[in-house]
Symmetry: C2
Subunit: 152 residues, 2 copies
DNA sequence: ATGCAACCTCAAGCTGACTTGAGATCAAGT
DNA sequence: ACTTGATCTCAAGTCAGCTTGAGGTTGCAT
């Protein structure tokens, strides 16, 4: 039985709807599909149709991006989710918790940095050699091109 | 009186030394100069010579970058510093304090986000419509290309 | 005076995350 | 049937922040 792709009532939505619901540009959604973050089926006329659950998936992507994750990392996180079926609440909870860990880590790192900076202001140094705020060893770890995230 | 550029003893250093001291690639230093973040004088043979204080300046740039500032923002911050003379301890303290404000803001934002996420995990929603974590209004403000910073 | 590392310029390339444009096709209301 | 807006593909462009490469020059120690 060939699915009635062009008439799907409450399950399949065109890209424009996804765009409106997520606030994402149509081009961005296509890009995410190309990257494999979401999937779509096609109508007879080659137009994309997305599952409503993909809106949710994209919502997650947007939140994760705000936390500074790159698409590659997000992809990894999402890889644990089934592409075909609608992800369950439990799926989301698990991943959300993982994000929570990310945030916690970032907050701790920032807090440590703030403390160091306070010492620095105290002594007025900002000297590259002695300053705990910045040293080469740390940097070596965070090497490589691409976007620079906060206190990686 | 023409300065003896090739023999400056403790004030003028070649780019390689700056590179070693800061851990920056020579190409990056040249790039920063091109962008106007630092300045140099030239020897008779057209080689760059930097003030020792530029190492400090670069150190500041690196720290600020870690906090997620773009070069343009850093440039603005540094614009308040004299290019010619060695910046005073007070100069650094003022800017450092400004950075501290940045960090504080980021920590607060992250903390708020974590709280929201906690609620979300509680209700298991992550629904784009109802979820406080993510809404389009917020996004509109943080629009534009360039590196995506954490919870801008 | 010579060798060689360090330096120079300029153009082009790269990553990430998209956008823009051209030119063509689809879907749905009247 | 027609029009209009949504959608399609594919190539190229953008921005930040650099790196890489080619081809050439400097400066310092011996």
């Amino acid at each position: 039985m060939v699915a009635r792709l062009t008439k799907g009532r409450n399950d399949l939505v065109p890209i424009g709807v996804v765009s409106q619901r997520t606030g994402l540009a149509v081009s961005a959604i296509r890009y995410y599909e190309e990257r494999g973050l979401i999937a779509s089926v096609r109508t007879g006329g080659n137009q994309r149709r997305f599952l409503r659950s993909d809106i949710r998936r994209l919502s997650f992507i947007l939140i994760a991006q705000r936390l500074g994750l790159g698409l590659a990392e997000i992809e990894r996180e999402l890889a644990s989710l089934p592409q075909g079926r609608t992800p369950t609440v439990l799926d989301w909870q698990r991943i959300s918790r993982s994000l929570r860990g990310e945030i916690d880590g970032r907050i701790q790192l920032l807090t440590r940095t703030r403390n160091k900076l306070d010492e620095c202001i105290g002594c007025g140094c900002l000297s590259l050699d002695r300053c705990a705020l910045y040293n080469k060893e740390d940097r070596a770890a965070a090497a490589g091109p691409g976007p620079r995230f906060v206190l990686d």
